[in-house]
Symmetry: D2
Subunit: 377 residues, 4 copies
């Protein structure tokens, strides 16, 4: 413990003026190994951070600077968190990582024997919260994001950072693509069920309900209080960008390509996503089998938990925490089951999982800095 506390990770957060940026700061400022040394935000450059986020005042944070004014040569940063608009990250990351010759870094990492932090100075490791490196196929990326991929040579080495499924690769990763919030809440329960053959891959419906912070802090009419409060609506039906991401990862779990239904809804809450997934049981499987499968898979996971039988997980029971709760239910339709899962979209669905990934990447205890119970009510 004493030794571990002494390991210091110097952190840069690019795009720190959004909600995920603030959530990173909230978590990292109390992280015993992290020092936040760089905060960028183009629109607010020149301001103290607490002017943008008054709830994070008095913490001695660095002021906001423009990303193109960062003198990378002059500062030592071990890890860079990116919360930039899509496309931008690809350009920034290409610039950052191409400075160092890959093979050299790889060698260093191989030799570093788990203590990567010390070795990597000079080239920060990148933990990206955008969608820029989530899709393996740069063609699929181009199709869904409307522009060609700007760093296709880096895509192959990007690690899809759903921590519970990526630990080994994370240890030496230079570039981690943190999953989207919707994919996180859907894949955690569904991937084991598919890989264990408990459910069929061709009949999965994910009906998801999200809080508003998932839409970010940019001023948009659609996210005004008057437009969101006291109501609900579906959006992006059939064409939300998190659909192909889920399909990619669940195809891997299923061992075959799959397509699914993903229907997101926007509802009047700040934090949280609840996914109600409707699945078809494989021959001879029961809901109890599904429960056993997930219990077995997540028995030793610190952040994924099955709720007791008959209990329905609620988003408010994970608010502010890195937990994912999962419940399983019989369906009145024979041969089917219902899977309900919840996360806080800003924590396990974004910044918390990013910190969890950082912990793994730098050889720390995975729960470090994330040991907070949910805030209820």
């Amino acid at each position: 413990m004493a030794e571990q506390t002494e390991k210091r990770i110097r952190i840069g957060i690019l795009g720190a003026s959004g909600y995920t940026g603030a959530e990173l700061v909230r978590l990292l400022i109390r992280h015993p190994n992290a020092d936040v040394v760089l905060l960028t935000a183009d629109s607010h450059a020149g301001k103290p951070y607490e002017e943008v986020f008054p709830h994070l005042a008095g913490l001695g944070l660095p002021g906001l600077v423009r990303i193109d004014e960062v003198e990378w040569a002059g500062i030592e940063v071990d890890a860079v968190f990116c919360g930039l608009p899509h496309g931008t990250t690809q350009e920034i990351v290409a610039g950052l990582l191409h400075q160092t010759h890959h093979s050299v870094l790889d060698e260093v990492l191989r030799e570093s024997d788990g203590d990567a932090a010390a070795a990597i100075h000079g080239t920060p490791r990148v933990i990206d919260l955008s969608a820029d490196f989530r899709l393996d196929s740069t063609e699929t990326y181009a199709e869904w994001y409307g522009h060609e991929h700007y760093a296709p040579d880096l895509q192959p080495e990007a690690v899809y950072g759903l921590t519970e499924f990526a630990r080994e690769r994370l240890t030496t990763a230079r570039l981690v693509a943190c999953p989207g919030c919707y994919p996180t809440v859907a894949i955690l329960p569904l991937a084991p069920l598919l890989s264990q053959g408990c459910i069929l891959p061709d009949d999965i419906i994910v009906d998801a309900k999200s809080g508003v912070t998932g839409a970010g802090r940019a001023a948009k009419q659609a996210n005004l209080f008057g437009e969101v409060s006291d109501g609900i609506h579906a959006y992006g039906v059939g064409h939300h960008r998190h659909g192909p991401e889920m399909e990619q990862e669940l195809s891997k779990a299923a061992g075959q390509p799959l397509v699914l239904n993903f229907t997101p809804h926007l509802m009047p809450m700040n934090r949280g996503i609840l996914a109600t997934s409707y699945v078809r049981l494989a021959d001879g499987r029961s809901v109890d089998d599904l429960r056993d499968c997930l219990r077995e898979r997540y028995r030793d996971e610190p952040f994924v938990r099955l709720v007791p039988d008959g209990i329905a997980p609620a988003t408010r029971h994970v608010r502010g925490s890195n937990y994912c709760l999962i419940g399983l239910f019989e369906d009145r339709l024979p041969g089917r089951a219902i899977v309900v899962s919840v996360i806080d979209n800003l924590v396990k669905g974004a910044s918390g999982q990013a910190v969890q990934n950082m912990n793994v990447m730098f050889g720390l205890d995975e729960v470090t800095g994330l040991e907070q119970e949910p805030l209820f009510p």
Copy 2:
């Protein structure tokens, strides 16, 4: 018009201290043909109505009385709305309707030639908002509501009052069972699709999201602000009482018995239900066919409306109104479609539909008293 205004319907509301009771008063107090003459509420008996609902002050309403202290012989009531706990309505209605010999009333109604209001004095016509007479089978009722049916002889004559499907029978009905809020929002889009053979009856999933007023005004911890706000959870998964009601009516539409998945969620809004229904297309049918089917069915309906292509209906766009909005979407899963429908649970899902039924029963223009646009935001 002048003539119609002169037709007066004397109204009693039994169980007027709940949200549906107040909503009935709100609508009926401005209804040009209605006079509210009786309001009962056991727990608040003796109080002026505006002490229980201050937003309905200054309207000259009758004070609240205990239901067992109503002297039915002494007052003339043409229509009774029942908003009582389940089971209670059966007993009350049995008492009310057994006073008059059925065949006599039937004769009167047959002769009344549409102008039933004048003829029916002496035996009020009953418009029930509870679940007491919704299920055709008293055995199914007993199974789901936990006690035997107390008025099995009356059940056969109860008309299931989803107005758009019940007009003919409503004209002469003595006893109308207004649909539950969830069944209303699900059946309106799904029934025509089933009866026209557009979708398959054995693979219907209704994922519904409801505001809190559907749970009533009784003091329950689960409905406290702190327990409901800023979050969402599923409840009654697989065993909500509105499930068999949907199945009953959709079975009729399909022309064969069907079972479905109905999964309700409670979310932080006052009014509104959104149902996202996942359906399987019948052979050779497309989403466009579904759209045509519903457009055709609801072309002349005043309260049911298809939204334009690509638009997702929002509960806030029906708040306070009797409208049901329906949207249709392609599914990424081949051979499937997504149906989204919304209502205000207190209006089209309860009190508004009850008034709509009353209008039909008493030969009035069906929209009378319901011509309010939604309140947004």
Copy 3:
């Protein structure tokens, strides 16, 4: 009644894409004497209205046009409601009203004997919802709004349209400046108390709490759901523009210039303002005297109502309605009293009061089109 229904008022709404615009449409579409014939909105010009406000679909409304493309010569409009940004109204109104020679119009109005509607064709009467003509002094206007007044010659004839205090002048007014939402809720209870000498003019504190719709529908970060929900803050402390407006009108009531404390707060609700006013009793006056004063003043008013002793008015009890509720309370501080008043900021605080003014201006029953009970919950 029959005759009155036949009187038609052709309505134009300039700046119809904001919340007050939509609220005007909601009220006027059901108004028996109003025909909405013109809707302008620069940013949405060319769109059908229901694309901007889907809750107002299917009403046969005219499409949105740019204000500078309106051919005034070609359309007949009797009343123009202006919901434009400040400054703009002054320019538009100057253009509109200068077309006609004032003295001629005045003569017509004088001769019209209450039936002004018929006479005024050619020059619409203007009902302004902006702040452009509320302040008598164009210097005060310039000081608080940051630019010179663009129609100083018209300012003197503008009628400050707090209906309950302006009826006589409204009858012949060409130009009505509807009060701000905060001034409405504060002046209604305080003006009679001042004019009757019940309270002292030099020690008035108005602590006001407003819903978010008062800030309009423009995309601003400060009004995002995430920034407003589940919290409260004061804003514009000591320098909100509604302060001088209150001072102007309350000075008139007091018969002497006064300054007051006005402290607004933004809170997570859509509609409603609650003002808690802390006042000092005049010598020999008691809270009972204040209550008598207000009861006497508002005895015959349709929209202003004292709540019973000991009851605290709630914004949710006026939601969607044109009512103002007032409650009075003893203060533990000797010689002081507490006045609580509530309105719906979009109705009595904006569009409802504008319609109320229109009714008076055109000789209609003042409550026409406004007879809706509040929507609760």
Copy 4:
């Protein structure tokens, strides 16, 4: 640090099924020196804690027991937190503390040299979150709480635990009365201003706006989502029980008896209180003087902070944290000022301050276990 971590405090929480109980558990479970060994809750006795508060699952907490079934002789508890209904605490505490002879305990404490924890086994120290011991005068208590005081002999030794003003007495206190939420947010800014003669004691108005959790978790109609959301109302005007508590403490600060206006409002948020206090400046004092006074007083306080000039504190900027933020503003009324202060009612207004007191009582660093940044949004 290493030494300090080893100090263990065994904790009992009496009345653990309310929101303050759950908040205590949330804070103490991560407190490095605390072990929660006893949880009582009469209505839920026999249940695992996570059945009552699912967000606190998986923490190895003791199950809930009835308070009258606790065998005090058999368990060692160093600190007891009481979250019981008023009156009850007096009886329980009398039972607990009378077991040990006062003088003996006092001697032990005197000798314990700051390391009270070790010495006190056998008689737990009591940290009460109810109102039972807040009022110095048992007569005032009886007047406001409707029953005689049940432990009048203990009242004199109770320490009013507004931590920032009570540290010295807390060190040896056996019985701490934690302040009410409203008094906390009002006294923190006002007490220094009074004791330094910056403001006058006879003209203080505290207009407070509270979230709903302050009303507890009991099932009451008034706190249902439908009754609270999307609205605001004042309550307890002139007779809220926190009024005399504020007056007691501010009288001490002023050095003379004072009476004040305290007007609470209930608003739709879970956590947070904002107090807008209207004060009269003492002769020759300015708002800058007030700011200097508070800055000086709170310069070294970890949890009380002045916001920058011109910024208005928001409740959402303290959500989930133990901070109190204070802002000062000029008043348009000459000779007056406006003081705005915010806390999270469940943290600094209840459980957080209770833990802060425990830290002081047991010689720990005062911020231990409370070092969380606010959760925003």
